[in-house]
Amino acid sequence: MNFPILTWITFLPLLGMLIILLIPSGKDEKGQELSKTIIRWIAAGVTFIQLILALVIFFNYNKGLTGVNDPASFQFVEKISWINAELPMIGNIRIEYFLGLDGLSVPMVLLTAIISFLAIFPSFGINKAVKGYFAMYLLLDLGMMGVFLALDFFLFYIFWELMLLPMYFLIGIWGGPRKEYAAIKFFIYTLVGSVVMLLVMIGLYHSTGTFNIIEMMDQGRFLPDSIFGGSGTTLRYVAFMGLFIGFAIKVPVFPFHTWLPDAHVEAPTPISVILAGVLLKMGAYGMLRIAFPIFPDAFAYFQTLIAWIGMVSIVYGALCALGQHKVGKRDFKKLIAYSSVSHMGLVILGLASMRPEGVTGAIFQMFNHGIITAMLFMIVGVIYDRAHTRGLDDFGGLARKMPVYTGIMTIAFFAAIGLPGMSGFISEVLVFLGAFKAYPVLTVVSGLSIILGAGYMLWALQKIFFGQLPEKWQGPWDPTGKLYKTDDVNLREMVALIPLGILVIFLGVYPNPVLHLMTGSVNSFIELMKPVLN
C-alpha cells in the first residue's frame, strides 16, 4: 500500500485546522456570518473525508491478520525513523514514526471517525469564537486518532498529551457556568496520570532500549539488570500500577472518576459527545495496548484487584446515576455521566477476566458505549438548546410535543439499558459471560447494575416524556420561529442522531462486522497473556 492512509487520517484535521485559521473573520456582520458558515462546513468536510478514509480502512482490513505482538501482521503500517540521537551513556535515543492497525485499534479508529464527524452537527450551534472552536476541535480529533494508531510509545505519548490543551479550551471557553473549574480539574487529573506514564516510559526505554511498543511486549528484550528487568519484581508492579492509574483516570474508574461528572456537566454538547464517545476509550485502549501486554506478570498479580475495581465502578456509577433522581441538581447530563462510569466499569471487568468472550465483549462495549452515549448526550443537547435547562424534574409530557424525539430517545435509552436487539446487549452479555468464568461472585454483583440501569433510565424516560407537560413549555419552544421552526428535532439534529440509531440496532441484530474485526487479535492477545495467568 503506497498511499499513507494512516498519516492522512491522522493529520487531515491539522490541514483543516490550518485552512480554518487562514479564513478571514469578515468585516461586517454579514461577512462574519459567512465566515462562520464556511468554517463550519470545512470542519464538516474534513471530518467527513476522515470518515470515508476510516471506511476504506474498514473494507480493506484483513481480518485474518492478528497484530498485537507480531509486527509482521500489523496492517497499513507506516514506519520512518524520526529521531536518532546518540548520547553517551544513555545510548542511542531512537524514536520512530510508527503507525499501524490491528484488531484492537480498528474498532477505535472507526469509532473516532464516526463520532468526530457526527459531533460536528451539534457544534453548528456554537456561536462564539467559532474559528477557535473548530480549530481546537480538529486538533483534538488529531490527537485522538493518533493515540489509536501509534505503535511507538513516544509517539503515543505525544498524541496523548496533545489532546489536553484543546480539551481544556473546549470545556473552558465554550462550557457552562463552572467551566473554569471543570476545565482545570480535567487538565490536572489527566496530567497526573500522564506524568506517571512518562516515568514508566523512560524506565521501559532504559530496560529495553526501544520505544517500540510491540518490541516492549517481548519479555526477552528486557535487560536482566535493568530497572524493569526480570519478572514479578516490585518495580515492575509499581510501574504497572503507575500505567494502570494513568489510564484508569482517563477511563475513568472509581476512585479516579470525579473529574468526569464536572467535565460533562460543564462541557458543551458536542464536547460531551466526544468526551464520552472517544476520550474515555483511550484509557481502556491504553491498558490493552500497553499496560497489560508489557507487564503480563504484574497484570496477573493485580488481576483480581482490577476486577474488583471494575465491579465497584459498575455498581457505584449506577448508584450515583440513580441518585441523580433524588439529590443535587437532578441534572440529566450528570446522570448520563455516572452511567458512563458504570458502563466503562464493564469494560474493565471484561478485560480483567482475560477470557476471549470477556475481552471481545470489553472492546465491543467500548465501541457500543461510544455510540450510545454519544447519542444520549446529543439528545440532552437537543432539549437543553430549547429549554435551557437539563433538570430531570423540569419536564414531563414531552412525548406529545416531540414524538420523533421521543422515538429516538427511546432507542438510545433501551440500548443503554442493554435491551436485547440493541448493540449494548451483545457486548454486555459477552462481558458477563467471560467475567463469570473468571469471577463468578463479582459478576453476579455487577449484574445488579442492569437492574439499577433500567431503574435510572426508565425513571428518566418517564419523568421527561410522560405525565403532564408543564405550563411554561405549553407553547412553541421558539415563538419567533427563527431558531427552531418545529417543536420536534430539526434536520440538523436528525442527521447526527439517525445514523447512530441505525448503528445501534444494526449491530444489535448483526454484530459480526465489528466482532470479526477483533476476534483474531483478541485471541492472540490472550495467547500472549496466557503464560503468566493461573
Binding site: E86, G172, F187, I188
Partner: protein, 499 residues
C-alpha cells in the same frame, strides 16, 4: 631560566589567541564607553555598538568549536562544555539587547542607555569567564564581575523605588553569600594546598582528607553557587530583584546568569570532587548526590508552591525560574555525563521559552502599563498572535508535548531514572503538575475570561512580532525534532581535566 620564560610567553600567547571572544567583549565595552561620551545619538548608538560587538564575539566564539585545552596556566578552560554554555549565554544576551530596543521602560526613561548596554557587555564578560573558570580564585573573580554588573543593572531605573530596593537586597545577599563562598574556598585551599580545580581533585584522591572539613568547605562553596542559580534557601533575593529590575535585565538574569552558575557547579563537582572519569566517581565519603537532590527538591517545590500565589507576571516567572533551577539541579544531582547532557539540552530550551515569556510580559507591560495577571484577561482575543505565542511558551515551561519544554524534561527525567533515583523523578513530575496550575492561570485569563473580548485590539509592530516568532517557532520545532540539539549537547560533554 630563559627557557621557562619563553615557555611561559609561548603559552600566554597561545592562551590569548583563545581569549578573543572575551577580548572582543572588553573592546565592545570600551567602544561603547567612548561612543557614549562623544556621540549625540547616545541611546541608540550604544545599543547598536553592543549588538555588533556581541555578534562579532559570536563569530569568534564559533571558531572555538571543538577546541579543548586549558589556558592561562589552568585559570581558564576552553572546552566543548564551556563552548555550549557560552553560545547559550551569548544568544540570550543578543536577544535581550534586541528586546531592549523596543522596551518603553528603557527607551522612554529619563536615563542614558550607554551605561546600560556597557553593563550588559560586562555581565556577559563575567559569565563567559565563569563558564570556563577552573581555579577557585578565578571563579570568585568571575562571580564578582558578574555580580557588580548585575547589581547596577537591577537598580538601573533609579527613580523606581522598587528597583532601588531590589538592587539593595541583591547587593546584601550577594555580599554575604560570596563572603561565605570565599571562606569555603580558603578552607579547600588549606585542605589541598592548591586552587586549581583539577589539582584539588588529584590531591583529594592521593591524600584523603577528613570528611567533616571537606563537607563544611564544600557546603560553603555551594552557598555561593546556589545564590547564583537562586536555589532554595538562597533564593530570597530573586523575586524582589526580578520584579524590581527592568524586564530586559530580569530576562537576562533568569537565563544567562543561571547558565553561568550551572556551568561552574558542574565543572566544580566534576573536576574537584570526582575522579574525573566518564562515571564521575565521587571522592571521599560524602554523598553529594543526596545533598544536591535535597537542594533540588527544596528548590523546585518551594518555587512551584509559592508561584501558585503570585498575581504579578514577573514575580510568577521569578518563582517559576526558581522551580526550573530545581529541575536542573535534579539533573546535576546524578553527577554523570547523562545529567550533564540533560542540563545542556534543558538550558538551551529554557533560554528560548523563558526569554519568550519575559519578552511578551515586556510587550504587554509597554502597551497596557501593567504586569498584573488580571490585565491579561481577554488578551488572547485582543492580540491573537501574542496570545498564542505566550500560551506556547507557558505550555513549554510546563513541559507538555509537543513543545521543546517537554524534551528538556524528558532528558532530565531520563538522566534521573537512569541513575536509579526514582523517588527524585516522582517528586519532579509531581512538581510539574503543580506548575501547570499557575501557568495555565495566565492562559485562562487570556482565553477563558471575556471570550471574544470587545476590548481595544493591541497592535504590535512587525519587528516585534518577528522577534516573538523567532523564539516561538524553535520552541515548537525543537519539541518535534530535537535530534540536532541532542547531538550538539552530546558532543559538548567533554571537560578538559588534568587527570
Amino acid at each position: 631560566m630563559m627557557n621557562e620564560l619563553s615557555n611561559f610567553s609561548g603559552e600566554l600567547l597561545q592562551s590569548l589567541s583563545l581569549f578573543w571572544p572575551e577580548t572582543t567583549l572588553v573592546i565592545t565595552f570600551l567602544i561603547t564607553l567612548f561612543a557614549d561620551l562623544l556621540s549625540r545619538h547616545k541611546n541608540r548608538l550604544a545599543g547598536y555598538i553592543t549588538l555588533a560587538g556581541l555578534i562579532v564575539t559570536g563569530l569568534l566564539l564559533l571558531s572555538q568549536q571543538g577546541v579543548a585545552q586549558t589556558t592561562f596556566s589552568g585559570l581558564l578552560t576552553v572546552d566543548p562544555f564551556s563552548f555550549f554554555m557560552r553560545v547559550t549565554i551569548l544568544l540570550s544576551a543578543i536577544l535581550v539587547v534586541l528586546f531592549s530596543f523596543s522596551s518603553k521602560e528603557l527607551v522612554e526613561g529619563p536615563f542614558r542607555l550607554g551605561e546600560y548596554y556597557m553593563l550588559i557587555t560586562g555581565l556577559v564578560f563575567g559569565m563567559f569567564l565563569l563558564s570556563g573558570a577552573s581555579n577557585l580564585i578565578f571563579i570568585y573573580l568571575s562571580i564578582e564581575v558578574m555580580s557588580i554588573s548585575s547589581y547596577i543593572l537591577s537598580g538601573y531605573t533609579k527613580h523606581s523605588k522598587r528597583a532601588s530596593e531590589a538592587s539593595m537586597k541583591y547587593v546584601i545577599y550577594g555580599a554575604v553569600s560570596s563572603g561565605i563562598m570565599v571562606y569555603g574556598m580558603t578552607m579547600m585551599f588549606g585542605l589541598t594546598g592548591t586552587l586549581n580545580l583539577n589539582e584539588i581533585g588529584m590531591a583529594l584522591q592521593t591524600k584523603p582528607v577528613q570528611t567533616m572539613p571537606l563537607l563544611l568547605a564544600n557546603l560553603m562553596i555551594l552557598v555561593g553557587f546556589s545564590y547564583k542559580i537562586s536555589a532554595v534557601p538562597f533564593h530570597y533575593w530573586t523575586p524582589d530583584v526580578y520584579e524590581g529590575a527592568p524586564i530586559t535585565v530580569t530576562a537576562l538574569l533568569s537565563v544567562a546568569s543561571k547558565a553561568a552558575g550551572f556551568a561552574v557547579i558542574l565543572r566544580y563537582f566534576h573536576s574537584a570532587l570526582t575522579n574525573g572519569g566518564e562515571l564521575w566517581q565521587v571522592i571521599g565519603q560524602i554523598d553529594w548526590h543526596f545533598v544536591i537532590s535535597v537542594l533540588a527538591v527544596l528548590t523546585m517545590t518551594v518555587g512551584n508552591l509559592v508561584a501558585l500565589w503570585q498575581n504579578n507576571m514577573k514575580r510568577m516567572l521569578a518563582y517559576s525560574s526558581i522551580a526550573h533551577a530545581g529541575y536542573l539541579l535534579m539533573a546535576v544531582a546524578v553527577l554523570n555525563n547523562t545529567g550533564m547532557a540533560a542540563v545542556l539540552i534543558y538550558f538551551f530550551i529554557y533560554m528560548l521559552m523563558n526569554l519568550g515569556a519575559f519578552y511578551i510580559v515586556q510587550l504587554v507591560a509597554d502597551k497596557t502599563g501593567s504586569e498584573d495577571m488580571e490585565d491579561y484577561v481577554g488578551l488572547g482575543y485582543r492580540s491573537p498572535l501574542i496570545g498564542v505565542a505566550l500560551t506556547l511558551f507557558l505550555v513549554s515551561l510546563t513541559g507538555l508535548p509537543p513543545t521543546a519544554g517537554f524534551i528538556g524534561k524528558l532528558y532530565v527525567f531520563t538522566a534521573v531514572v537512569k541513575a536509579g533515583y526514582v523517588w527524585l523523578a516522582i517528586i519532579g513530575v509531581l512538581n510539574s503538575v503543580v506548575s501547570l496550575y499557575y501557568y495555565v492561570r495566565v492562559v485562562r485569563n487570556m482565553y477563558l475570561r471575556d471570550v471574544e473580548s470587545q476590548g481595544e485590539k493591541i497592535v504590535f509592530s512587525r519587528p516585534v512580532l518577528t522577534l516573538v516568532l523567532l523564539l516561538a517557532i524553535p520552541t515548537l520545532i525543537l519539541g518535534l525534532y530535537f535530534g540536532p540539539l541532542a547531538d550538539w549537547a552530546s558532543a559538548s560533554m567533554a571537560f578538559v581535566t588534568g587527570h
